[in-house]
């Protein structure tokens, strides 16, 4: 700039020209204007789109989070939770939510809300998607827009009956709520036609009341004569026809279920909210058809002196074998005062007059009069075994002809008292034990000892040197005889040979007379008979077990001791016979006889006095055969004895097996029961808190 001449361009007037403000306005201003208008428009739009604010109160809003939890209607998101807070006094959790404006008008007084969580039950798994996405609130309302509401009370559990679903609600009563749970199926002829809602205790706490929803058109099957019964679990019954196992669907097995049927026609149609009782099982339900379940029962008390274990509430009361009522109450009461006071067990019986054959119009008083009349004529109550295996008892009203006179005590105590008579409780366990004890006490060991002794004696006899040397001596005799026969002197048999032969015959005859062989046979026969007897007794045992009642009588009458004693005796006599000196001496005598004969034959040979060789040979042969027969009987004897021992062993073994079989059967049944209990407990735990499956708590 220093190069510029000082006379350079004159300084310019740099004052900007004043322009009108609109002319000067830059186009760039459009940008913020547009930005502003877009922002404002977006904000307005946002505000406009905001849904209607509703408030739902829950007892427990587990998993519900502001800004995250969606509100869904038929699985379509229609809103979002905006705020979660407590109501005043921390009574409820208030969930503030925005609902789409298009849906809001339909939220009228029939709208229901509940929180959907994962739920694992035997009917399946629901809400599994919420495991990942978090819980959501499901709403349910009908399609009629009524007076819109903005405050609702949420349900803790999913509502089972969706708005608009058609059907009938019935109210079911039961004394035991353990077999009913929300959502359990209601079955009709095995098909699910409805479900139970949440069971509740009745106001006085004595009953459980559960509402059941029966879908249309099945609800038309229900009349006032319909009976509902509990189908949960499985039942095992022992009867004359064997074991019967009755299992329902797995769902009802674990979760419980109710079935109904209308067996007789003529019932009146029902309305919403009709009350029904739940019967224990189908049989009870069907039985109840013939009596009015609401008819009042005649209550009488029975005082038992002995234990009533086995008697339970609901046990049958029979009159001449027919069920007329049930045990309603069991308690202990004190009878008398001061030192004479004693505790009696009181069973209160609920007797249905109609089952006693009284006409429908008769009153309780009439029934009482009838009953006290019967008592005057010898009616007594007693406990009898209802089921041999389970040991359960029933109360039986029986007519005792020679009963001591008694009257019904109508005045003292709460209930009239029926006098009792001796109870007939057959305790199978005890009697079976007694039978086993008796078997145990049988002198089996003595029998065995006797048998062993006998075997020993026989062995001793057989192994006796004399016995063994008898064949040798015989061979020697035959050799000698042969020598004699072929000798030259044989041709000249002396005349007195016949006499010798006769003597020989006499010897042989005396051997025969000694009846050794037949004695043996007889002894063996006796032992064999004893064995057969024992065997027969053993064969009777399965039959005895099958008919336990018969077993008692038969087992008692079996003369086991006598039988075994006689067997022992037999064996002892065999032993005595075999071990007797006579028997032991027998081989010796035989040998001596043979020796004598040999000497005699030698003499004969020497004397050359043989008269009838053929006769002598025949006789000698006969003698030899008799001896051989005697000897050959020995193995048979030992075989029979060993068979006898084996049979005895089998008898004893069969007892052992039988008792183990019983024990094992019992143990198996108990195992099954324990397993069923465990499954049941597990399922209930899961059902009460399905989350536990996921959370592990």
């Amino acid at each position: 700039m220093s190069d510029l001449p000082p006379t350079g361009p004159a300084p310019l007037d740099v004052r900007p020209v004043k322009q009108r403000i609109w002319r000067r306005l830059s186009l760039v201003w459009l940008v913020p204007v547009i930005a502003l208008s877009v922002s404002l428009w977006a904000a307005w739009q946002n505000y406009q789109d905001r849904g209607t604010l509703i408030v739902i109160s829950f007892e427990n809003a587990s998993g519900v989070a502001a800004g995250e939890t969606a509100i869904k209607y038929r699985d379509v998101t229609v809103g979002e939770v905006e705020r979660v807070e407590f109501a005043e006094g921390l009574t409820d959790v208030l969930v503030h939510a925005r609902i789409d404006k298009t849906v809001a008008p339909y939220l009228d007084d029939d709208a229901q809300f509940w929180v959907v969580r994962p739920d694992v039950s035997v009917r399946g798994i629901t809400g599994l998607d919420t495991v990942l996405s978090g819980v959501y609130i499901e709403g349910n309302w009908d399609t009629d827009a009524d007076v819109a509401q903005y405050e609702f009370t949420g349900f803790e559990r999913p509502v089972l009956t969706l708005a608009g679903q058609r059907g009938t609600h019935v109210v079911l009563r039961t004394k035991d709520g353990s077999s009913v749970s929300a959502g359990a199926p209601v079955l009709h002829k095995g098909i699910q036609v409805g479900y139970l809602e949440t069971p509740e205790l009745s106001a006085n706490g004595s009953e459980v009341i559960v509402s059941a929803f029966i879908e249309r058109p099945y609800d038309r099957r229900i009349t006032t004569s319909t009976r509902f019964w509990d189908t949960s679990g499985f039942s095992v019954s022992f009867g004359a026809s064997g074991v019967s196992l009755d299992v329902n669907s797995i769902a009802s097995l674990i979760e419980g279920g109710i079935a109904f049927d209308t067996i007789v026609s003529g019932g009146d149609p029902i309305r919403d909210g009709q009350v029904f009782d739940i019967f224990l099982d189908e049989q009870t339900a069907r039985d109840s058809l013939f009596t009015d379940p609401n008819a009042e029962a005649l209550k009488v008390a029975v005082l038992f002196e002995q234990s009533v274990s086995g008697l339970a509430i609901g046990s049958e009361v029979r009159f001449q074998g027919i069920r007329v009522g049930e045990v309603d109450e069991l308690s202990a009461i004190v009878v008398g005062e001061g030192p004479t006071a004693e505790v009696r067990l009181q069973a209160v019986l609920a007797i249905e007059p109609a089952r006693l054959g009284m006409s429908a119009g008769s009153t309780l008083d009439d029934a009482m009069t009838l009953l006290s009349d019967f008592v005057g004529r010898g009616l007594r109550a007693r406990m009898v075994t209802g089921n041999i295996l389970s040991g359960s008892l029933v109360v039986e009203l029986v007519q005792i002809d020679d009963a001591l006179p008694a009257i019904m005590n109508l005045t003292s105590g709460l209930y009239p008292v029926i006098p009792t008579t001796e109870s007939q409780i057959s305790d199978v366990a005890a009697t079976a034990e007694g039978v086993l004890a008796r078997i145990n006490a049988l002198p089996v060991e003595e029998l065995m000892d006797g048998a062993i002794d006998m075997m020993d004696s026989i062995e001793r006899l057989a192994s006796d040197d004399y016995t063994r040397s008898a064949p040798e001596a015989l061979v020697g005799l035959l050799d000698d005889t042969r020598t004699l026969v072929v000798s030259e002197d044989a041709q000249a048999i002396p005349s007195d040979l016949r006499q010798v032969i006769n003597e020989l015959n006499a010897v042989v005859a005396s051997v025969n007379e000694a009846n050794l062989v037949s004695d043996f046979d007889a002894a063996i026969e006796t032992a064999s008979v004893a064995a057969a007897n024992i065997e027969a007794a053993t064969q009777n045992l399965p039959q005895i077990t099958a008919e336990i009642e018969a077993l008692l009588a038969k087992a008692n009458s079996l003369e086991f001791e006598a039988l075994v004693a006689s067997a022992t005796q037999t064996l002892n006599s065999i032993d005595a016979l075999v071990g007797s000196e006579d028997a032991a001496d027998l081989p010796g005598t035989l040998n001596a006889a043979l020796d004598q004969m040999r000497g005699f034959l030698a003499e004969v040979r020497e004397g050359g006095a043989v008269e009838n060789v053929n006769a002598a040979l025949a006789s000698a042969n006969e003698a030899a055969q008799a001896v051989e027969e005697a000897v050959s009987g020995l193995p048979e004897l030992s075989a029979r004895a060993s068979r006898l021992v084996a049979q005895t062993e089998a008898v004893i073994a069969s007892y052992g097996e039988r008792s183990r079989f019983g024990a094992e059967t019992l143990a198996t049944l108990r195992d099954i029961q324990a397993a069923a209990d465990a499954v049941s407990a597990l399922s209930r735990a899961i059902q009460r808190n399905p989350n536990s499956l996921l959370t592990g708590r």
Binding site: P9, S26, V28, A35
Partner: protein
């Protein structure tokens, strides 16, 4: 330059009746309209500069509002779905204990844009009012605004990169929210505002105050 005393001895090109080309630096006479060298338009002073600055600045500030109200990132994974605004993200990072990252995000997304707004406003106001204080500071502020402007885009780039990388369908997805667009617009607008500022106006103020 420093004190007003030394400045008073100088004259500007405009005072000398000259005008320099903004692009190539060729000096022309005042009355020349088109640069002889580069054919660019010649203007001694941009009369609409301040208007433009204000307009862009206001647009940038308007855009900055939704950028803070709406979510910047929409993160949806298998288990949850979250939307985080800028401030929400910073708070979350602090809760997790990542103070460093939180500071960077806070600086880039909050401090720098707001600082820019303030700096540009200060420049524009001071030029308009012919305020005489701290001329050096004004120059410095202008330079800083020019320099730092581009770094404000770092947030937008992060969002863009994340969105491009994390697209694993149902397992994890990151999508830019409305705030990302607003924020980008806000940054662009403020950069334009800074650009529109004719720095020569500062000299005029210096001159007039001198």
């Amino acid at each position: 330059m420093g004190s007003s005393g030394t400045v008073s001895g100088l004259i500007t090109a405009r005072q000398a009746g000259l005008v320099a080309c903004q692009r190539c630096g060729q000096v022309h006479r005042q009355d020349v309209q088109i640069c002889k060298r580069c054919d660019g338009p010649l203007r001694s002073r941009d009369a609409e500069s301040l208007q433009k600055v204000w307009a862009w600045l206001i647009a940038g500030m308007i855009a900055y509002v939704p950028a803070n109200l709406y979510p910047m990132l929409r993160t949806s994974t298998l288990v949850e779905r979250s939307e985080s605004t800028i401030i929400g993200g910073v708070v979350e990072l602090i809760e997790y204990g990542s103070f460093g990252v939180a500071f960077i995000v806070f600086a880039a997304s909050v401090m720098i844009p707001i600082g820019k707004f303030v700096a540009i406003m200060y420049l524009a106001i001071s030029v308009q009012r012919h305020s005489e204080s701290n001329r050096h500071g004004r120059h410095k502020a202008y330079e800083v605004v020019e320099f730092i402007g581009r770094w404000s885009m770092i947030d937008v780039f992060v969002v863009a990169i994340l969105s491009a990388l994390v697209q694993l369908d149902t397992i994890a997805t990151i999508n830019p929210g409305i705030a990302a667009v607003s924020f980008a617009l806000s940054v662009i607008f403020t950069m334009l505002a800074a650009q529109s500022f004719d720095s020569r106006l500062i000299w005029d103020v210096d001159r007039t105050t001198a």
